[in-house]
């Protein structure tokens, strides 16, 4: 039995490794044709709606500017992302756009690209190593905006619960930091519980159900660090008949959340401009390639979305 298990493991490792090799070799098939500008793009995860939106916009803008794109999915693995950037370097692409998986672990990708004299643009999130340009939004600000809304709604007094994303991810750390900055300004606003919902709607719903058991109607507001979790919290509160008494705010402004704001079940969401991030990334790439001057850092502001200004954000 033990030997069979070992063989299983061996086959598994082989399968995994050949799998990796295949994915990198297939990227090489995207050859640079003629003088067309070639841009390599590696995205954090194409299973994330927001990231897909950024990527779609990059693609759209690239088509308009007649740029050849090689887009790959790092599937949340910084290691994979570095390999992808190495492959871009080997293919001698003109510019690299990277949506980093991690602050530290994706840094070597930036260093390697710059060492090979290929400009690299970070989009949406940062790395420790400084890239040629950064385009994104400051997540701390989104946390501030969300918690500020809660503070104003509750007139500075009440009990708040907070749902984290994956613990330790840049977005989670920064959104929490922003929220806590505001909490400090309102001593009567109490954070009675905080816990991870792993960015996931079903997990967040269970978590909210458990909190309702624990704290019942003493909860006055929920801050969820993304809309998926916000929607889960709304569902649990609605099922428990408590939604009318609890303020729920989340971040991202995904279509579902906008619908919920329209219906009045979600009180507010914070809009992060995926289109702007994608478009600016390609624009900067063009400028760099043509040797024009460009902004080293482009910060696209977050916007609070409530029933009052909803129309602007609905497509």
């Amino acid at each position: 039995m033990k030997r069979i298990n070992f063989i299983h493991l061996l086959i598994l490792t082989t399968v995994l490794f050949t799998g990796c090799n295949q994915s990198t070799s297939s990227e090489k098939s995207g050859e640079s044709g003629g003088k067309k500008l070639v841009v390599g793009v590696t995205m954090l995860s194409m299973q994330n709606e927001f990231i897909v939106n950024v990527s779609d916009e990059i693609e759209k803008k690239a088509r308009e500017s007649d740029i050849e794109l090689i887009t790959v999915d790092a599937e949340r693995s910084a290691l994979k992302q570095i390999e992808q950037v190495e492959s871009f370097i080997a293919q001698k692409v003109d510019v690299i756009i990277m949506n980093p998986c991690e602050v530290e672990a994706s840094s070597p990708a930036v260093t390697k690209a710059l060492a090979a004299n290929i400009p690299i643009i970070n989009v949406n999130s940062e790395t420790t190593a400084k890239p040629s340009a950064f385009i994104g939004s400051d997540d701390v600000e989104s946390g501030r905006i969300a918690m500020k809304f809660i503070a104003e709604k509750l007139k500075g007094k009440g009990n708040v619960v907070m749902m984290h994303g994956y613990m330790g991810q840049a977005a989670q750390i920064k959104r929490e930091q922003g929220a806590r900055e505001i909490l400090k300004q309102y001593p009567n606003l109490k954070l009675i519980a905080h816990q991870t919902g792993e960015w996931d709607r079903a997990k967040a719903m269970s978590l909210m159900e458990n909190w309702i058991q624990s704290y019942g109607n003493t909860i006055n507001a929920v801050f969820a660090q993304n809309d998926e979790m916000g929607m889960g919290a709304v569902k649990a509160l609605t099922d428990a008949g408590l939604k009318d008494n609890v303020v729920v705010v989340s971040i991202d402004a995904i279509p579902d959340a906008l619908q919920a704001v329209k219906k009045g079940t979600l009180d507010a969401t914070v809009f992060q401009n995926a289109e702007q991030q994608g478009a600016q990334a390609i624009e900067t790439a063009l400028k760099i390639a043509k040797g024009q001057t460009y902004e080293k850092e482009t910060l696209i502001p977050f916007q609070l979305v409530t029933k009052d200004n909803l129309a602007k954000f609905m497509k």
Binding site: E49, A202, N210, D256
Partner: protein
């Protein structure tokens, strides 16, 4: 004898195995009760009707997955693809569940069909190629995740009808529908495993494949049925999840296979095949659910939750195996 399989097996070994199975289940049941008692003492919010109702509702999805995987593990196999099956089902069912389009039976049937097909695909490749189930279902896991993303273009499928949302979010005579579905399928799966020829064949195939073959059991047929069944139960879990969160999610169910396998193993299903019960699996799933609920109630920080969960799972299984060794 009413049991055609056990006739050509050593009766004392069989008796010993049955006894061990019984004691194993008992051991985990004790561990489960112990944890419940501890939680009731530590947090007064735990032992209330409303909280326990919520725990069972939350557990229903993992339990359905675990029932399916119990069948598979009993035959000596494994199925890693069920989490992805949940995602495919979720997206497929949701696509047919928009209000004023199709009757509610359509998303249910298409969702189930998707799961059954993925399960049958697993069964077919495993029986025809003799490649270990671990590898085949690992492949299907990736294929399924890809399919879910392709079908949904990477975005959640929202705006589902009220009648569809009732499946996972409604109540019948005050009892949440997921609990009713859970009970119905618990009984059905137990009956299949304990009272039918198919169930006995499953134990036989997992206990000793050569002996089962020699006694005339068609191994491939049993395996086909088992993997298809597992896919079907995963689809059911997917439909329940979709309805509960009122949206189809291509990235739903990531890691669900591990929770389901954990529930089965905690419940006394042996990974080497041939042993396991649905009652054990149900308790395994409840144990995981109760721990997670209890830690939330006590507001244990996320960092510690995972560690505590791991320790309790290992502890429960160690207690279980000590119990078995003693006898």
């Amino acid at each position: 004898m009413e049991n055609p399989v056990q006739t050509d097996r050593n009766p004392t070994v069989e008796a010993y195995k049955t006894r061990m199975r019984g004691i194993g289940k008992y051991g985990i049941f004790v561990a489960f009760l112990l944890i419940c008692v501890v939680l009731s003492v530590v947090t007064p919010k735990f032992l209330t009707v409303s909280n326990l109702t919520i725990v069972v509702t939350q557990v229903s999805i993992n339990a359905l997955l675990a029932f399916g995987v119990t069948f598979v593990i009993i035959t000596g196999g494994i199925d890693l693809s069920i989490g992805s099956t949940v995602a495919v089902t979720s997206v497929v069912a949701a696509s047919f569940a928009h209000p004023d389009t199709y009757p509610v039976l359509v998303p249910i049937l298409t969702g189930l069909a998707a799961g059954l097909l993925l399960g049958a695909f697993n069964g077919l490749v495993i029986t025809k190629s003799k490649v270990p189930p671990f590898i085949v279902t690992l492949g299907t896991m990736t294929i399924g995740r890809g399919l879910a993303l392709i079908l949904s273009k990477g975005r959640p499928v929202s705006n589902l009808s009220d009648s569809f949302n009732f499946i996972g979010g409604g109540q019948i005579v005050g009892i949440p529908t997921p609990i009713i579905i859970l009970l119905v399928f618990f009984i059905l799966c137990s009956v299949v495993l304990k009272k039918t020829v198919l169930g006995r064949y499953m134990y036989a195939v997992g206990g000793n494949e050569q002996a089962a073959k020699a006694s005339g059991i068609q191994l491939n047929k049993v395996k086909m049925v088992v993997y298809t069944l597992c896919g079907g139960l995963a689809a059911l879990a997917g439909i329940l999840l979709t309805s509960r969160i009122t949206t189809g999610q291509p990235n739903a169910g990531v890691g669900f296979e591990l929770d389901a396998i954990a529930a089965a193993i905690i419940g006394g299903t042996s990974t080497s095949g041939g042993t396991g019960t649905m009652t054990g699996t149900l308790i395994g799933a409840l144990l995981i659910g109760v721990i997670s609920n209890g830690l939330d109630l006590m507001n244990v920080t996320s960092y510690y939750q995972q560690v505590v969960m791991g320790i309790i799972i290992i502890g429960a299984v160690v207690l279980d195996s000590l119990n078995q060794h003693k006898n």
